[in-house]
């Protein structure tokens, strides 16, 4: 499954400035692992002990993965996986 992972501006130093990455994976976790394979610096910035850090939100086509199956949330061909900071609002 080929999906697009959107990288927020705050993390682009770790992707050489790239804001969108095309990767393969059948779940959000697999897609993120594929991103980390390309840009290792991202892994520790957004995950800790295999889980997302607490101020990281991930959406599949606009829907928060915490309302689905977390990192096990299935992704379909062409889906957009968006990483965003969680500390906004209020």
């Amino acid at each position: 499954m080929s999906v697009t992972v959107k990288i927020p501006a705050q993390l682009r130093a770790a992707t050489g400035g790239e804001g969108e990455l095309e990767v393969e994976g059948s779940t959000v976790g697999e897609a993120l692992d594929a991103v980390f394979d390309q840009h290792d610096g991202l892994r520790e910035r957004i995950t800790q002990d295999g889980d997302l850090r607490r101020f990281v939100n991930v959406y599949v086509s606009g829907e928060d993965i915490r309302f689905q199956d977390g990192l096990d949330t299935a992704v379909s061909e062409g889906d957009e996986v968006t990483i965003l900071p969680a500390v906004a609002g209020g």
């Binding site: 939100n57 959406y59 906004a88 609002g89």
Partner: protein
């Protein structure tokens, strides 16, 4: 003594004082750091007392080198002693901080004053926000007052009063078909591509500092004393934690003696991710997907400062409680009938939780309690339509007597 940098609350990484809100190392929230070395507490107090009649009297404790110009200065709202309410609740000393008495009738004028002053300093021409209503009013008004363009994003199903009191200022009002958290996500995405100052996204570290002025005023209005207990509403948890920060800073700097109060947070049961996490003994706030409460201004399903709010309540021996919509309505009525202050639903949440705490015996009779009323009742009129009935009569003495008998007649 000066504002120094932005600092990550999680890992401590420092950043320059720019429009940024997230740590690039760990994605934690950034907070303003100051260097208060050499501060003379007596001199600081004198300077405050000689200052303006609003939040800028505290500008030495806000993120600016010098006091910004502000044509719509908020703050110095009344702190009223609420003896009748205290008596009803069986409490000793109760104070109501009526922050509806601000230019757009909520505490949001404080945070917006700081954020928009910073936006001007940083050279932004357009300001924006993700709002549950009160912030929308405040951003639209302040942008109009200082002559900046503004975009205000809200859930489309907000109270009519809050939409009207936003649109009137000539802002671009954008109603999103979704929850507040959908609005917030969209604004976070827009902040990536638009060179705008989103007051509660990319300017959030500055914005949130404005809530410290609630603490400063309370201390000053109590005659330079710290309360024993604070009861305040929690939406994102930002205001709740910043009131504590303001009090802690002044205690540490010697401007006031005492200890940090017991912090009690208030949420609506229909959107209570922080209260739920507190009750479950965790600091992971499970987001609420479909908030369902009349307290729309507190309906944030994914609260950014939830973990810090929980930590604060625990560390100070407080709690985070929630109340039903009926208890919110009852809270609004109780406050109005005993203090003459008419609050919006968020204030009903605060008074509802205060009532619950009082009834449970959690509050000692010797405690000095301050409850924060953050918004105005005229903004949420639908909540209390059934709270009373009007006696409609013909304009005649007979009609009056038929309705009320001879009540009030002197012999």
């Amino acid at each position: 003594m000066a504002v120094e940098s932005l600092k990550c609350k999680e890992c401590g990484e420092s950043y320059p004082l720019e429009a940024r809100f997230v740590c690039e190392q760990c994605f934690g929230p950034l907070e303003v750091a100051y260097d208060f070395s050499g501060l003379d507490p007596g001199e600081a107090r004198r300077k405050i007392q000689a200052g303006s009649r609003g939040i800028w009297r505290y500008s030495d404790f806000l993120p600016f080198e010098s006091r910004p110009a502000d044509p719509l200065e908020p703050g110095l709202t009344p702190l009223v002693r609420a003896d009748r309410l205290a008596e009803r609740l069986g409490l000793g000393e109760l104070w109501i901080k009526n922050d509806a008495a601000n230019p757009t009738h909520s505490f949001k004028d404080r945070v917006v004053a700081v954020a928009i002053a910073k936006a001007q300093e940083l050279g932004f021409e357009t300001v924006a926000c993700a709002s549950t209503g009160n912030l929308a009013n405040a951003v639209a008004a302040k942008a109009a007052a200082v002559g900046l363009d503004s975009y205000v994003f809200v859930p489309a199903d907000l109270e009519e009063q809050k939409l009207l009191a936003t649109g009137i200022y000539g802002t671009k009002l954008v109603g999103i078909r979704g929850t507040y958290d959908d609005v917030n996500r969209l604004c976070t995405e827009l902040s990536q591509t638009h060179p705008w100052a989103f007051v509660n996204v990319n300017l959030r570290p500055y914005y949130s500092e404005g809530s410290k002025t609630l603490a400063f005023e309370t201390i000053e209005q109590l005659g330079w004393k710290v309360p024993d207990r604070v009861v305040a509403p929690i939406a994102s948890g930002s205001m709740f934690t910043k009131v504590a920060k303001g009090m802690r800073d002044w205690i540490e700097l010697g401007l006031v003696e005492g200890e940090l109060p017991t912090f009690c947070g208030a949420q609506a049961l229909g959107c209570s991710p922080v209260a739920t996490a507190f009750a479950e003994g965790t600091d992971v706030c499970k987001p609420e997907r479909r908030p369902d409460t009349i307290a729309k201004s507190l309906a944030i399903g994914d609260p950014a400062d939830g973990p810090y709010a929980i930590e604060l309540a625990r560390d100070t021996g407080g709690v985070i409680e929630s109340v039903t919509d009926d208890e919110i309505r009852e809270g609004i009525r109780l406050l109005a009938e005993t203090t003459g202050v008419f609050t919006e639903t968020a204030g009903g949440v605060t008074v509802g939780v205060l009532t619950k705490l009082a009834e449970s015996g959690a509050i000692g009779s010797d405690e000095r309690v301050v409850a924060y009323i953050t918004g105005e009742g005229l903004k949420t009129l639908d909540a209390n339509r059934e709270a009373f009935r009007m006696h409609e009569i013909e304009p005649s003495l007979d009609a009056f007597e038929a309705e009320f008998g001879t009540a009030g007649v002197s012999a």
